[in-house]
């Protein structure tokens, strides 16, 4: 199946470590994913997700520390509320929520990171490319 472009926003303290851990354990997962490391899942503004789709991502992974594990105490709790709302907004706007995976991955969960990526890639590949969003400019010139 054709490769898709998945952009992953991962928190510095847990999920980036998780991805690192997956690499260290030589776990195999599809190469469709590109990571953007941010300091905390609380820093991941929904506009990042929109921007990713605008610039050609077919899917997005958002990942942070498990509840209670946030390096900044509560960043992920705040993020959780925001994402809960944003996900409903996406659904209400008719954007397929299956293109975005929200996840908690700790620094030791290399296996979970592999699973999150594999599942997301599989799902997004089945959905196909998301040209529909990027192409919304309707470049007609008339």
């Amino acid at each position: 199946m054709a490769e898709t472009k998945i952009l992953a926003f991962v928190c510095n303290w847990c999920s980036y470590g998780g991805a690192d851990n997956a690499g260290g354990m030589r776990l195999k997962y599809p190469a469709d994913v590109r990571l953007v490391r941010v300091m905390c899942s609380g820093r991941i503004d929904p506009v990042f997700i929109i921007k990713a789709f605008e610039r050609g991502a077919d899917g997005v992974i958002v990942s942070g520390c498990h509840p209670g594990d946030c390096h900044y105490t509560a960043g992920n709790y705040h993020a959780r509320r925001r994402f809960a709302v944003f996900r409903e907004l996406m659904i209400f706007m008719g954007i397929d929520p299956r293109r975005v995976t929200f996840s908690w991955v700790s620094a030791s969960e290399g296996g979970k990171w592999r699973d999150v990526v594999s599942e997301t890639v599989e799902r997004v590949r089945a959905l196909g490319p998301f040209e529909g969003y990027r192409g919304l400019t309707g470049r007609q010139h008339g």
Partner: protein
Amino acid sequence: MGELQELARKLLADGAVKVVIGYEEGPRGVRPAFITTPKDADRLVFDERCVHNLTMYLTPTRKHIAALGKPAIIVKGCDTRSLAGLIRQSQVKRENVVVIGARCGGVLKDPSVKAAIAEDTVADRCRGCTIREPRLVDHLVGEPKPAPPGKSLVDQKIDELDAMTPEQRLAFWHEQLSRCIRCHACREVCPNCFCVRCLADKAEPLESSAHLRGNMAWHMVRAMHQAGRCVDCGECERVCPADIPLRLLNRKIARVIEARFGHRPDDDPESTAPIGSFQPEDGQEFIR
């Protein structure tokens, strides 16, 4: 002269305030008025055409109003929720403004024509109003009024949309948002849009072009920024020169927030904002 005009005159004459922000008769119906002298207090009107939420004139972005001096402002019950929000968000100090509450029985859908409040004339946002007598006030004027009739059509439309397929919903929003010309009038009239520099005024990350991609992003981002703060005053929808049903978005989010976090916008400046606070036990069924 009426109670309201007399009160305004007195406040101005006593020097308690320098300007009364209210409503006056304009060429096309009622409009915002800025009364600075006692003799002009006669110009004030308040009736069911006073749809405008005037509280945004209190935000620090309105430097030319602040320059007039201490204001008194006329608010309806619904407007006090915006006022409470502004106080909660440190934009307005309660003691720096004299609040004149006007009892209200609903405003008109089409404020350019005088009409009685009835099932088919009342603004949709007034349906189911629970705050006809403003509480966060220094003075209260007007007679108690009956509750506006009817059931919210916005809620009905949201239910309809929820029942559609994702493709139908997307098509609906594409049709609505394709009319957006990115004038940002929705933002400018919103009492919650007091940012010194709006995200949309920067070159990044939002695209400022009025194509569907830029419009989708703008309205999603705006809806997110309003989450938990929007009081459904309906000003954005009223002023939209493209008639985009913006209340649908904000109301939908308000419903999500109420369902998930049990929060409703209120007129208490001390209450907690749902976005910006959390409970450890918040639902996370959507998170892997």
